[in-house]
């Protein structure tokens, strides 16, 4: 078992990567001077992974929407007790989440991290589902689905994705629907568990006031070796086109909310990182708080300080999204289109490009200032197929042509979707 030390040449930060004999990838960052510890044990299994097979399987298995999230809930119950009761004895604050492309179990603490780490590694490797507990969870998750449907920001975002994607499961709600989760039973949960919770498909990331040797000794003690069964996940073919250019919904609301997104061509690994960095700098040049467009929209009272942008990408999806609050979102969209046309014809000012690069660098370095952010950075970058400090390196070699190329190729008017949630009349 080799300890690979990864160092950022630009900031001097470093962490350790180990490919454990059990198959698990482990990232450890000892952070001097910090008191807290953040640990995440995650699997590359999210709401988009609805179709899969193992090497020995002939056919693909298709599972109900929301099952990864359901599994996350159920794993917190083991045969003897609730996992939270175990954490209560160490003082750690524990949680879990399911996103589009991963499920992570985590804890943060300032004391007894070794005991908490044992609990984490143990319960995630020890599923216990019965039909009775599955039935009960359907009620709890049903309430969660209802609650998120009252969240206008959530509805706004999923409407945008439904407007963008014809077939890709990124458009489905992470928790599924009351109807889809009704199809879940204990047997199906075990099938998904045994497929995706193979240590070869998982990562442990831990940062803060820890000792790498202690962490690795606990891993040796708790991890059960897994055979790599050649997991293959597939996605339905996704056309380049969008489904619907505009989607509107009404809810009890203040100022209307909008998401304006450009559907871009997806890619993987280092290429995705390079593209997302070009997209991030491009979005900054177009609309950051010092840009002409931002100032124009602000003075016209078409946006407020909630205006922002986001690069949203994963396996089979990539979008550049502008969001905010506006009484006239269609006017914001028109200004955005006009500004992108202008940049395509006039190019980018070198001074602005360097300034946005500097600003982006600042954001990346700040991330290293925080235990929780570092633990998240390590797990996210691994799941993306890159290293923890690669983003800073990619940014430093990013050129103006890379950014212009991204704007020219990817921010196309026929790939634009606007989602609006507005108040009820």
């Amino acid at each position: 078992m080799e300890k690979n030390i990864i160092t950022s040449p630009l900031t001097g930060d470093s962490c350790i990567h180990v490919k454990h004999s059990s198959g698990l990838d482990i990232y450890i960052c000892e952070m001097k001077g910090f008191s807290s510890v953040e640990a995440l044990f995650g699997t590359k299994y999210g709401s988009v992974n609805t179709m899969f097979r193992m090497r020995e399987d002939k056919d693909y298995t298709v599972v109900p929407e929301g099952i990864a999230h359901f599994l996350e809930h159920k794993l917190f119950e083991n045969e003897d007790c609730d996992v939270f009761e175990l954490y209560a004895k160490t003082g750690a604050s524990a949680n879990a989440y399911t996103s589009f492309d991963k499920t992570c179990y985590l804890f943060s603490c300032t004391k007894n991290y070794t005991d908490s780490l044992r609990i984490l590694l143990d319960f995630v490797q020890k599923p216990f589902f019965t039909q009775e507990t599955v039935d009960k969870e359907q009620g709890i998750i049903g309430q969660e689905i209802k609650m998120t449907n009252d969240n206008p920001g959530w509805r706004l975002f999923f409407n945008l994705l439904r407007g963008m994607y014809h077939n890709h499961p990124v458009k489905i709600d992470i928790a599924g629907t009351v109807e889809s989760i009704a199809q879940i039973d204990a047997e199906l949960l075990y099938k998904c568990y045994n497929t995706f919770y193979n240590l070869n498909n998982m990562v442990l990331s831990i940062a803060g006031n820890i000792s790498a040797d202690e962490v690795l000794a606990i891993c040796d003690e708790c991890l059960k070796p897994c055979e790599d069964k050649g997991l293959e996940t597939v996605f339905p073919d996704e056309p380049d086109t969008v489904v619907q250019a505009e989607i509107r919904e009404k809810q009890p609301l203040g100022t209307p909310l909008f998401n304006i997104g450009y559907k871009c061509v997806p890619c993987e690994g280092r290429a995705r990182l390079e593209k997302s960095m070009a997209a991030s700098v491009a979005a900054g040049l177009i609309s950051d708080a010092s840009s002409d467009m931002y100032q124009k929209l602000l003075k016209a009272e078409l946006i407020n300080s909630t205006f922002g942008m986001e690069i949203f990408c994963g396996d089979g999806y990539f979008a550049t999204i502008f969001s905010g609050e506006s009484d006239a979102p269609e006017k914001v969209r028109d200004e955005l289109i006009a500004e992108i046309r202008r940049i395509k014809s006039e190019g980018i000012n070198d001074k602005d490009f360097q300034r946005i690069k500097k600003s982006t660098y600042g954001v990346l370095v700040r991330e290293l200032n925080n235990v929780e952010a570092v633990a998240n950075l390590m797990i996210n970058s691994h799941m993306e197929g890159t290293g923890p400090y690669e983003a800073i390196e990619v940014l430093s070699s990013l050129t103006k042509d890379d950014v212009l190329g991204f704007i020219a190729d990817e921010l196309c008017e026929d790939k634009l979707v606007m989602s609006v949630v507005e108040g009820e009349v």
């Binding site: 004895k89 203040g254 708080a289 600003s359």
Partner: protein
């Protein structure tokens, strides 16, 4: 870590925390004043305008351009409340000079930017610059109107209005829409000057290395401000209503919300906090384990203490059909505590949870600021370790007494329009 607090002038505290592990510098200036219906919006807008331009940077565009060239430094404002007190904050955060690859003095430049905003705001003819003012007023108005977007937060806010009716704490820290609409560029500048003159001011500078220039500059700038400080009580216990008030609101929502407010006249704040942790602050609390997990009555059901008002709130997301059952079960769980049914595991779990959060003080610049700001309000100098010991000394008997001191004051319900009767 090295902590020091000094006075820069009348009612102006300056705390520095030097902690070499950080990669950033953070400066936060907080104005402390009385929360009131007629001034809340004006103050919130005033502090907002201050963070949009000032000094050499006459427009938001110029300021933002400067900030992004300083490696994405921030200059921002905030409004919040603590019981009957309104807190208006302005400040910034920036990368430490050692990460500036072009060798800039980022700290020096940010000190100029922030002092420009705070001490030379962008004004003309006795009013804030109109453009900066209009942008900020719209922002505050949108924020007031958007409160309803977060249904849980909205329900809690309505519940505090009901619970603290007639007291300053009933107000939002942003004020009401009509008050915000009535604010002018002139009245906002007056409000800001009033804050500079009369508010208690606490300043926090969190950095990896000492920098005497920060204190020197702030001391100089404040020496030019005529001060006539007003002081306020930071803790004002809210009396319980004679009978429980129920306030219902119907909205087109899928999930109903219930927020219960209990009032206490106990001054045993440590016991009240331990009570709240055991009752409903963790996933092993009585409310989570029983109301959510065992009986599936709520998706969330949690308690919190508002120590400055002697109040405890329980907020929950609940199906309309389960509201009565949920209310009864929440009251039954409180009764359990009053009857002394607290296990040793619950006691030790609560202590560990409290200790865990106290030991984490210092891991982020904002945690240092929150900790030392709270020391200012409490008028004490305890360390997180000493605070932990004070919690450790809380006995079951004290928790039972704290529980017995609670009286149900009011219940706010957000009901689903379609199924309400």
């Amino acid at each position: 870590m090295k902590y020091n607090r000094t006075e820069l002038g009348c009612g102006i505290g300056f705390s520095t925390v030097i902690d070499e592990k950080f990669k950033t510098n953070t400066l936060s200036v907080r104005f402390i004043t009385k929360l009131s219906a007629d001034k809340a919006a004006e103050n919130a807008i005033a502090i907002g305008v201050v963070s949009t331009s000032g000094g050499k940077y006459k427009t938001l565009a110029q300021l933002n351009e400067k900030l992004s060239s300083l490696y994405g430094a921030s200059c921002s404002s905030s409004a919040s409340k603590r019981g009957d007190i309104q807190i208006l904050g302005v400040g910034g955060s920036w990368l430490d000079n050692r990460f500036a690859f072009d060798g800039e003095d980022v700290t020096g430049e940010m000190l100029d930017v922030l002092c420009g905003c705070i001490f030379s705001p962008n004004t003309k003819d006795g009013a804030f610059d109109n453009e900066s003012f209009m942008i900020t007023r719209k922002d505050v108005l949108d924020r007031i109107e958007s409160e309803i977007n977060n249904k849980r937060g909205y329900a809690y806010s309505r519940a505090t209005e009901v619970a603290f009716r007639g007291e300053a704490a009933e107000n939002s820290c942003y004020g009401k829409k009509a008050n915000a609409e009535a604010v002018t560029a002139e009245s906002a500048l007056k409000a800001y000057n009033e804050l500079l003159r009369t508010a208690q001011i606490e300043i926090f500078y969190i950095a990896p290395t000492e920098n005497e220039a920060v204190e020197k500059r702030l001391r100089e700038e404040f020496s030019a401000v005529e001060r006539e400080v007003k002081s306020y009580e930071f803790t004002n216990y809210s009396p319980a209503k004679e009978s429980v008030e129920r306030a219902n609101e119907e909205l087109d929502v899928n999930q109903s919300k219930m927020v219960m407010c209990f009032k206490s006249d106990s001054d045993d704040t440590k016991a009240l906090k331990m009570l709240s942790v055991i009752f409903g602050e963790t996933p092993t609390s009585k409310l989570f384990m029983n109301v959510r997990e065992k009986l599936s009555l709520c998706y969330y059901c949690a308690s919190r203490i508002v120590a400055s008002k002697g109040a405890l709130f329980v907020d929950s997301g609940v199906e309309k059909a389960n509201i009565e059952k949920a209310e009864a079960e929440i009251l039954r769980q409180l009764e359990e505590i009053k009857n002394g049914n607290i296990t040793d595991d619950e006691m030790s779990g609560a202590l560990l949870a409290v200790d865990n959060s106290l030991t984490g003080v210092g891991d982020t610049p904002s945690s240092y600021t929150s900790w030392y700001f709270e020391r200012f309000f409490n008028g004490d100098k305890v360390t997180p370790v000493e605070q932990s010991e004070l919690y450790r000394a809380v006995t079951k008997e004290r928790i039972v007494e704290a529980a017995k001191s609670l009286t149900l004051d009011s219940i706010y319900l957000m009901l689903n329009k379609e199924v309400s009767e």
